[in-house]
Structure formats: C-alpha cells, structure tokens
Symmetry: C2
Subunit: 81 residues, 2 copies
C-alpha cells in the first residue's frame, strides 16, 4: 500500500521561502504568478498485509507527530490503492 | 487559479533523507512503514484572467526549469479549479 503525506504551512504563517520563489519567478518574467507557498511531500510505502483502517490511523499519527509541526503546519494524508 | 507542483526524486536516485525518516519511524515502533521518500510541494497562485492553457504551459515550464532539477527529479503539475 502506498500513501502520500503533504505538509504545508498554515495559511496564517508567513512563508519567506515561498515569497522568495514568487519574487524570483516574477523577476524572470513570469508575471502571472501571484503567490507561491512551499511545503513538504512524503511518499510512504506501507508493508503488505496491513489493514487499510490501521494504516490510515498510523499514517495520521505519523503525519501529526513526526512529519509536521502542528503549531505552524497543516497536513493531508492521501491513501493510494 | 490555483495549482500544485510536486517534485520528487526519480525512482533510481537514492534518497538518504527519506531512508533516515523511514529508519527513525521503524525505531519508534512503526514497523509497518516499509519506505519513505521525501519530495517538495508548491502551492502556486496564478493571477486571475490567465487563460487555462497558458497557465498550464507556464506552470509546466516553471516546474521543469525552476522548481525541479530534471537530471535527478520528476515533477507533476496539478491545476485546481
């Protein structure tokens, strides 16, 4: 089983890295880019034989406790097949 | 218009950061995690009034030339609404 976890800054948190990329793109002539926010992305392989509901629970726990900082970041877990 | 760009290492490229996260998760008791690969994720806001096909072309160009290193990384562009 495969899963994807997306971690991004909460909308209220400043993202200077994203702003820098946005400003660089505008200077390179891509004036149509209005905003950029950078996040992290994890592709996780879960061992065969793990029950789907157990996997969902474990992945949610891992995303919350290990992969993201819930004070400033949001996460989203997507289970594939 | 919003878009998301996902950048991840090509499958043949080693990802020591992902391996470290995987091994840390296993040591923390999450034995069901078989593999982890880390990537980057960008949420991009495109200015109102940009034609969808022009936006798709520009985002593909940006993903290829700026946000990823095509020698070792793959990218995926997802257009929302």
């Amino acid at each position: 089983m495969k899963a994807r976890v997306y971690v991004s800054m909460k909308p209220t948190v400043l993202d200077p890295q994203g702003q820098t990329i946005c400003s660089a793109l505008n200077h390179m002539g891509h004036k149509e880019i209005a905003s950029v926010r950078q996040g992290k992305y994890f592709e996780i392989g879960v061992a065969e034989g793990t029950a789907p509901d157990a996997a969902t629970r474990v992945l949610d726990e891992i995303a919350r406790d290990v992969l993201s900082n819930p004070v400033i970041e949001d996460y989203r877990v997507e289970i594939l097949d």
